[in-house]
């Protein structure tokens, strides 16, 4: 698949006098996994929130599946899903109840089967009847990912998906995401501070700094451009630069 799934044009976000995102333009093709990287405050999360319609851009346009997000929010979000390590599902509902609610919201055809399949996939089937608030943070993260895959999204948006996972589970989650992407042709846009995630998972990386894109390409291309063999070095160099343009 090569068609453009997500197109961001001249996106701007001002909060009063503060510019969170400035003149951001990029696109994501079908089947790609794109990493949105940058230090805290670089504008990644604000960008993701604008792509999901949670925050209204000051200027610019977001087009997903060829439709304008502001005009066709509901039909677009039907084919999108989202998970973040910092967003939870209602803590006093059981795992299966939470997933049933979202399966209904997304209109999943066979919710019972789908829920069982996802719980098995993320190795939390034994927690099906456990109250969500009683799960460890790693288990909650996997539950969030189950929620995010309920509707077999054509575009999956992830905000630091492995932030609370140990290296073993993070590795498993990366492999699951890669497998689902291969099987379903899913497109993924993800933020992460875990460079291993990025190198292993992402086909392409977009580095943001002070609200703008400062580097774009595969991890190898970016490391070559910065003359290093470590993406972490690139990250640190960009994060410590005071200017918007990286030499």
């Amino acid at each position: 698949m090569l068609e453009t799934i997500l197109k961001v044009e001249s996106l701007n976000k001002q909060f009063g006098n503060f510019t969170a995102v400035e003149d951001l333009s990029f696109s994501v093709r079908g089947g790609e996994i794109v990493g949105l990287l940058g230090a805290n405050g670089a504008g990644k999360t604000t960008t993701i929130h604008m792509l999901l319609g949670l925050t209204k851009p000051t200027a610019g346009a977001v087009t997903i599946f060829g439709e304008n997000l502001e005009e066709s929010r509901v039909s677009i979000l039907q084919r999108v899903n989202f998970a973040s390590s910092y967003v939870h599902l209602p803590y006093n509902l059981r795992v299966v109840e939470n997933l049933k609610v979202f399966a209904k919201i997304y209109g999943v055809a066979k919710p019972g089967e789908k829920i069982d399949e996802l719980l098995e996939m993320f190795e939390i089937a034994h927690l099906k009847f456990k109250t969500s608030g009683m799960l460890s943070s790693g288990e909650q993260t996997r539950l969030n990912l189950c929620k995010a895959l309920l509707n077999d999204p054509a575009l999956l948006v992830l905000d630091e998906p492995t932030a609370s996972l140990d290296p073993d589970l993070a590795d498993k989650v990366r492999k699951i995401l890669k497998r689902v992407k291969e099987e379903k042709g899913m497109t993924v846009l993800t933020t992460s501070h875990n460079m291993l995630d990025v190198v292993e998972l992402c086909d392409r990386i977009i580095f943001m700094h002070l609200g703008a894109i400062v580097a774009e390409g595969s991890s190898e291309e970016i490391m070559t451009r910065f003359g290093t063999d470590s993406l972490e070095d690139v990250f640190i160099r960009i994060a410590r630069t005071k200017e918007k343009v990286i030499a």
Partner: protein, 264 residues
Amino acid sequence: MCWNRIYALIMKYVYICSRNTFRAMDIFFWPIMDLLMWGFVTMYMLKVSNTVPGLITFLIGAVIMWNVFYRAQQVVCISFLEDLWSRNLLNIFTAPVQVREFVTAAYILGLMQASIVLVIMSLVAVVFYGFNILDLGIYAGMLLANLMLMGWALGLVATALIVRWGPQAEVLAWAVPFLVQPVSAVFYPISVLPQPLQVVASMVPAAHVFEGMRALMTGNEAIVWGHIGSAFLLNLLYLAGAGLLFRFLFEQAREKGLLAKYCS
């Protein structure tokens, strides 16, 4: 509008209530306590002085009806707050849920909770005080429906303010009914209010409902329809206003990135 999504939102809140003893107390415990306390106060007043005819029916009827309004208003706010408290708001608003579906689900929940409270309180009133709300006949339904509409409108206003000002405004979920209670003429007629407040009260649907209820109980049926009509028209106006306010403040929250901020 998609009724499956509305059903899912209702299902979520029902699950939450069934797992939360304190939330269930809003339905079963507090309304009964309210009724018992006012009932015994009324019985004491009747013992001391029996100068107001039908005092027990006035007060018990008022307590039941006020609870219908209060619970309908409260659940509209709390269904939103539950998502805020559990950091689930982003999951809801990144799903294909329309704002009007969210509001419709909250209204239906308000109707469900107020109906349960009404049934429970009515039964307790029959058992303890021999007061049967069904004695008000067809009018009871009209009066209660108006209180429900006003509960929805005020619940939506309070939710809109919480959307805009965040968790620091959550106290409004419980406080808003008490802001309007003095001019709602729940336990006394509008005529006892000072003149300027009488003007304010005449613009409050609940005041018309309670005036109508008292007129009905004193056999003055002729003026009940006037009160029901006034309350209905005011409710339509306030529901439309509440909808516009919610939409405006929701969009402001989106512009300021507040929906995301509350959950991070």
